[in-house]
């Protein structure tokens, strides 16, 4: 982990993962995000902090909420936003990714936001451009802005990020959201629990600072926060889990399992949700407990804050 104060332009310029951020840096991003939350609730939502700057969204993987969120964030900050969606089937790996990076770099963008199906691909691209790069998700590795928006949601509800018991439930194996959240929440002083069948828990994940549970009722005991992860359709049939209904029975969040958590436990989900697979509809729609839509709202503010911090002229920032 590199300290923020270190005069390394690259380390501060990119947001490639939670790994490498310090608690102070996280708090600073969240504090700035708060101001954008307020701004976004005004009729006049526009700010001109990135006027004249160019933002490229480069998505090698389909995305609705993250891409929209970044695009809107850029536009509200008055940046010129270019959207490049690349069907992943058209992509050749290795050389071509670097070529793409260098081509875009020649156009002098200020920030490139990248999502890629391969872990490590965003870092590889970042090594070949001069501008700031934000990782919008790379394979099963990291999705830092999701973890930051989750942190902001938690902080607004619980008033803190330390001393909480957080359960992350579902497909940990294939989840970049899980990895970023484990890193962020344990760094901030909370206790992270992972709840999943053994087939969906990657080996040695406990070395990242989390405790693993295969019985959801036990895993949810006294939890302050319950984060549900999407079980991807391609994993529902086969050898990871036998079926959707069996998965829901033992690992879906319903009223009975929810009752094991603290009465004021907050329910979160990075979306998109599979109702009846990992979460019961009534639980998802319970506005007294579910922060799922609020996460989307706060996600926009967090991305504005990240673009703001990384996209400003280094001299004025």
């Amino acid at each position: 982990m590199q300290p923020v104060s270190r005069p390394n332009a690259l380390a501060q310029r990119d947001l490639l993962g939670i790994e490498g951020l310090s608690p102070d840096r996280v708090s600073a991003i969240l504090d700035l995000s708060e101001s954008y939350v307020a701004l976004n609730r005004n009729a006049q939502k526009k700010s001109d902090v990135l006027r004249g700057r160019t933002l490229i969204l480069l998505f090698f993987e389909t995305s609705t909420r993250t891409r929209t969120s970044f695009e809107l964030a850029g536009k509200r900050l008055s940046a010129d936003v270019i959207n490049i969606s690349v069907a992943s089937s058209a992509i050749k790996k290795g050389e071509t990714l670097i070529d793409t990076a260098m081509t875009l770099n020649a156009m002098h963008p200020d920030v490139i936001v990248v999502r890629h199906p391969d872990a490590g691909a965003v870092r590889l691209l970042a090594n070949h451009v001069n501008c700031a790069v934000i990782n919008a998700g790379d394979g099963s590795h990291e999705h830092p802005t999701q973890a930051l928006l989750d942190a902001l949601t938690i902080r607004r509800h619980k008033g803190r990020l330390d001393g909480l018991r957080v359960a992350i439930c579902g497909d940990i194996m294939h989840s970049r959201v899980a990895r970023s959240n484990i890193l962020l929440l344990s760094m901030m002083g909370s206790q992270v629990r992972l709840v999943a069948p053994p087939t969906l828990v990657p080996p040695a994940i406990e070395r990242m600072g989390a405790e693993v549970f295969h019985d959801m009722r036990v895993g949810l005991e006294e939890c302050d926060i319950i984060m549900m992860l999407r079980l991807q359709a391609e994993r529902m049939q086969g050898t990871f889990v036998p079926s959707t209904r069996e998965y829901f029975r033992y690992f879906g969040l319903d009223e009975a399992k929810l009752a094991m958590a603290r009465p004021d436990a907050l329910i979160m989900h990075p979306g998109p949700m599979n109702r009846g697979v990992e979460i019961d509809s009534r639980v998802a729609d319970d506005i007294t407990r579910s922060a799922i839509l609020e996460q989307v709202e706060l996600g926009l503010a967090v991305r504005q804050a990240c673009l703001d911090m990384l996209g400003r002229d280094p001299e004025s920032g």
């Binding site: 069948p197 053994p198 087939t199 295969h214 049939q237 050898t239 889990v241 036998p242 069996e246």
Partner: protein, 432 residues
């Protein structure tokens, strides 16, 4: 209303759980064992209690056979849950585990419930079904372990076929940990078995038959133990048949892994020589092996490497067996020869009666977490009264099983069930 009470007096009580081997009596009340011990009824049996004089014969927990093919649904001309149950009772078996390779395959909750309902209707032996590990035994998609276990499946296997794909086996073991369930493996590498129809070796070569090598079993057992070491899980080798595989299990146990196995009577009482002149009744999977493998099975049972004795009872009609060796069906019936063949280990001086009975009762019950297989106050009154010494000759024509495919027809043996009791009710008595 008071429950029916029955006193079994003048018995030699044998209970592997407590190590009890003493003259005494046992009292059942309703479906449970109410009391037992050397002093019980020392002053006579009070009025109003039915009395069974055991005449000094052995009274033990009823046998628990964790590997039985009942053929229903799908092959009711070979065996049904009812006839298989009668065969079991005649052999002294009070609990059995049915294998899921029926037609359709027992891979969903409705079919588990079907097996249980048919067993209830038969009002006989207790049937604890295994469920398939993969859907339709396809070796690809796991079945709903959690829901099947809730419905009553006691373990999971694709028996008849191996789970061949290493990743599927790894995930099966791993996923089963969620519910602390056992995966039982038919350990056979089919690519190594090829077209083999008996054990590879001199006999097969002389007969001109394709052989099944020992490594066909060993490589799967070795692989699976590595998977257990890597991913955890409870692993069981069904019908283990080779010295090498027994040794693999022995070493895995020494390393503290959750690995167990069972052996079938034919694998410790016959060898490939018994295939003789193309006897299809001696064809089964895994095949009868060489004498050194047979001796290794006996050794594994003696030292506890092999946890349980299970029949792999596999009924087949005449038509399935009256074929050239290569085309004949695999498997033999075993329920009615289980006790005398197992007793050969006792008569041969390899094991004490208590040690032998442990592998036939308590050990399989413990592996599957079944409440049976023990003489204890409050336990189910599942009892076997047997004479360990009485000589007789196996006559398949007298089998209760619908199928008669046994290589033991005409074999002189010792020891047989005299009375089989399930939940306090006598369901079989010799001579009836």
């Amino acid at each position: 209303m008071t429950e029916k009470r029955t006193a079994y007096i003048n018995a030699r009580l044998l209970n592997p759980e407590s190590g009890l081997d003493a003259a005494g009596a046992l009292l059942t009340e309703g479906a449970e064992i109410a009391d037992l011990g050397p002093q019980l009824f020392a002053d006579g049996v009070p009025d109003g209690i039915e009395t069974v004089d055991c005449s000094g014969h052995c009274l033990s927990p009823g046998l628990v056979d964790m590997h039985v093919h009942l053929r229903e649904p799908g092959h009711e001309h070979k065996e049904t849950i009812a006839t298989g149950g009668l065969s079991a009772l005649a052999g002294g078996v009070t609990s059995l585990c049915s294998m899921p390779n029926t037609d359709p395959v027992i891979d969903n909750v409705a079919l588990i419930e079907f097996v249980q309902r048919r067993a209830r209707e038969a009002k006989g032996v207790k049937v604890f079904p295994f469920a398939a590990a993969t859907k339709g035994l396809d070796g690809k998609q796991l079945t709903e372990f959690g829901m099947l276990a809730e419905a009553g499946a006691v373990a999971f296997t694709d028996d008849g076929l191996p789970v061949a794909n290493s990743q599927v086996m790894r995930r099966a073991l791993s996923y089963a940990k969620t519910f602390d369930l056992m995966i039982s493996q038919h350990a056979e590498d089919l690519s190594l078995s090829g077209c083999g129809c008996m054990a590879e070796g001199e006999v097969a070569t002389r007969l001109g038959l394709d052989g099944i090598p020992e490594i066909s079993e060993t490589v799967i057992v070795e692989r699976d133990i590595r998977l257990v070491e890597h991913s955890g899980g409870r692993y069981h080798v069904a019908h283990i048949s080779t010295a090498e595989a027994v040794d693999c299990v022995r070493r895995a146990k020494a390393r503290g892994l959750s690995v167990t196995c069972e052996a079938a009577p034919h694998h410790f009482s016959l060898t490939d020589l018994d295939v003789g002149d193309y006897r299809t009744f001696a064809k089964m999977a895994p095949p009868l092996r060489s004498e050194s493998n047979r001796a290794a099975i006996v050794e594994g049972l003696k030292d506890g490497t092999i946890d349980a004795i299970a029949t792999d009872h596999a009924p087949h009609d005449q038509e399935s067996k009256r074929l050239p060796m290569a085309h004949a069906a695999n498997g033999i019936v075993g329920l009615e020869t289980l006790l005398p063949l197992s007793l050969e280990l006792y008569h041969g001086g390899h094991m004490t009666l208590l040690e032998l009975l442990r592998r036939l009762t308590l050990a399989p019950a413990e592996l599957l977490k079944l409440p049976v297989g023990r003489l204890r106050k409050g336990a189910p009154a599942d009892l076997l009264l047997f004479d360990p010494d009485v000589p007789w000759v196996v006559d398949t024509a007298k089998f209760r099983s619908m199928s008669k495919n046994s290589p033991f027809d005409g074999r002189p043996v010792q020891g047989r069930a005299l009375r089989t009791v399930v939940d306090g009710r006598t369901l079989f008595t010799a001579g009836t």
